[in-house]
Subunit: 193 residues, 6 copies
């Protein structure tokens, strides 16, 4: 994987304006490396700032109806439906960490229907994948079914917004051919020592 | 069309933080009304700020390889592929104004392949629609073909990023059932007096 | 739109046999122009006679279960599913006039599922679009559902026959690349003075 | 196969107006039975007259570029793509008689791509099936390829018009659930004595 | 049909090891000819032995829940969904003989949904075709529905295994372009003298 | 993952007839566990014997044109196209071991088009996936392209036969809901000590 991280010019994150540069430094420190989607977006600071602000507003949230791990599984299921290597591998890794389950992300990526999910998450993923691949086919009853599982109005909105954000992200990753960092492949697969 | 503008709670834009409130006031003044996507996103200020920042970075740009009108036509073609009423009608209106053509947006929305486009824009829309509906099928040669029409690296990136942003936007509009404002339907169809 | 009205030879309607010539003159007088599908079919008088006879038998009928406007909306929804510019624009115009609604035809063309329709017309369009795009998937219960909305046997037949006739018409328009007349784009969009 | 010949009322052809009654009598005499599509359409004389006039204008023609057998094979291939039992069985029978080949119709119905066809008919069926199932995907080069095989303008038009007419016919047969007459299944399969 | 029976080298069955040679001789004697799938597989004795052993374990079985004729109809319906000429024609012939019905195999091949089937076989074919074309969409309730029609656990397994075996068989026939023997086309169509 | 290994009865492999019992013992010893597809097939000894004989004839072969690792990647790519969790995870593990690459199987499973493959393997996977999902669309030129990469007639046959065998295997795994053994998820991901 000595492939370039993008089909487009790659900028040095050191030149980014604050507070974006800090956001980059923060993720690099926490992860131990800079995820390639950050690197690939660095030549477009305004879009990078908007993208990560949108991301943080939706993904760094833990509610009774939709945990951080649940949110990552939405990303995994819909990104798999879009054949997006970067998002399946990178968010599969994060999902493994957040759900503390070394297998569930792979199960969801390959066949979410048979994955060992709660009825709530089964229905969340069903409607999420439909919104990802055939958005006109979503009907009001789909949202009601999520409400019936205890999702709040905020949670239901988040399901749709996460699907939307990664519809964007998947297409950026395909367009620029952004590969996942090698580290993501193994992350969360081994028991903590 | 007395339908609500969203399936979710709608906030008063007057309560938005600066500079987002200014962005809302600006579009309302220029348009003569607040486009419903602004209204529907107001209850989520962080996402609204990110969304419109992303939008402005891509759409308010006029380059030799990709004019403002061209950018709107990308939105129209891909939003039509996603059956998104809001985006086809609202951006169809903007496309009519920016291309100064009262028919081209409808032609592109219904059958872009037979629309009277330049060879450059024909190829732009072909790859844009493919990225919208089957993103894994985009190949490096698709991007090269756009470069061959004179698009710069920035222009090529923009094609993909616009498709991505409206992949998000289309799904938000479907999820929240955001209707286009009535004003958009007729906008740009009549000759200027 | 100085494009030719067909990829095939175009005959002068003045040379058509009676009563077809009268049918052509009549539509030209009522519309103020000769719709291009008439022009494109003129070189094939037998087919033109059959086509317009079939059309008139189905479309010039107003029943309690299926008004003239309803019939046009079936044409709009299924022609949109077939990406047919001519039929969406021309019959969208007629639908605006017959339903006296300047927006409904566009709503139906882009996303009939969210259009403000009666439950009867929602179900009519659902089964009509299924018959248009996946005809083997129509089941007896689909017809029963229409009967349950008060459609007579004649009305139910008409739904299927209209879908069938425009399955033909859409393919002729694609094959010959028949463009809609410019007049159709604006027709029915402005309030009557 | 004691099933009814239609889901809709069936009229006695004896009551049809001339010259339609004569057309019905003629086919019944030549075939030895009344094909069910005639029976099913009898309750709608205007549509029946138009349908069979359209049919005869396209199918009762033998040109160097498109023989009567070739025309039937277009019907078989596109009707198979639409899963239409009536048209595949009835026109398969006619195709066997007109091509004097007991196997070709079945080969075309199930997998036209591997059927032992001339390069001309291979390309005719390729574009015909595309027009049947994805009409917007037909491009001008498709028609040119048929011209390159020696089809005249009239022949090329006929290819598209036949596809269109049976797009209608297939949907009528699905909608009314018209079964093929038993006689068609065996017709043309046995060597003439 | 003087086409070769395979795109690959064809071995003389006389050189096959026992007991495979006997299996070949047996089918040739019972049929009066060697079905081409036997001929095409002869150059790969290990695969041929495995294939026909698998076949015999599933197809030469007659249970109250799934007769030999029912099993052949599963092959016909799913092979038709895969456009496989060899399997539709050869197993259509066997289905005609085993069901003693000269029309049912054609009806199932072209449109199983409207074929005159028992509710049991209608549901068997529905889930079989889904397993053939969209296997992830099979849900536990599909198997339960078959159990509700009286199929035993063995019968339900057989439905899936037959679909699977012919998913393999269809792909071999497409890959090697194996044509059906001429004899199959007419077999079972004529009343026994 | 305390889920059962099948929706159907599970037999004790100890009761299998020779030489199948030996085959089971052998794989259990080499793997350190009995892969679940062996367990799930044990209640059907004849099918199990045929399945593993077919498997061994195709997969335990190393040729210059198609190595053992290449063969596993065909399984991974086509099983991913069929959303088959068992085959993607189990054969992904074997592919990691045979290619000595900890990432390639995941790359192929999620988006084979952008995976770092030789031109030969890129074309092998392209035609393999087409045979898996749309078998009628395979044309003679597809096989010729593989020959052009140096594959022998045997190798080309093997490509199609492997796709076919796993078309069967994927459907068995979906039908019986066979989960991958936990051990497969991590296998081949860690550097050898």
């Amino acid at each position: 994987m000595s492939d370039p991280i993008s089909r487009f010019p790659v900028a040095d994150p050191a030149g980014l304006p604050e507070p974006l540069r800090e956001r980059y430094a923060d993720v690099a420190e926490r992860s131990g490396f800079l995820p390639n989607v950050f690197g690939a977006l660095a030549w477009r600071p305004a879009e990078a700032a908007a993208f990560f602000a949108y991301h943080d507003a939706l993904m760094d949230k833990d509610t009774p109806g939709l945990s951080k791990g649940d949110r990552e599984l939405i990303v995994v299921a819909t990104s798999a439906a879009n054949d997006c290597l970067y998002c399946v591998v990178a968010h599969g890794a994060i999902a493994r960490i957040r759900t503390r389950d070394p297998h569930l992300a792979d199960q969801v990526a390959i066949d979410w229907r048979k994955a060992p999910l709660s009825p709530r998450m089964h229905d969340v993923l069903e409607v999420a994948v439909r919104l990802a691949v055939d958005p006109a086919a979503v009907v009001p009853g789909d949202l009601d079914r999520l409400r019936g599982h205890g999702l709040t109005e905020d949670d239901v909105w988040d399901v749709g917004a996460i699907v939307g954000l990664f519809a964007l992200s998947n297409r950026l990753a395909h367009w620029a051919a952004i590969p996942p960092n090698e580290e993501f492949f193994l992350m969360g697969r081994l028991p903590r020592a």
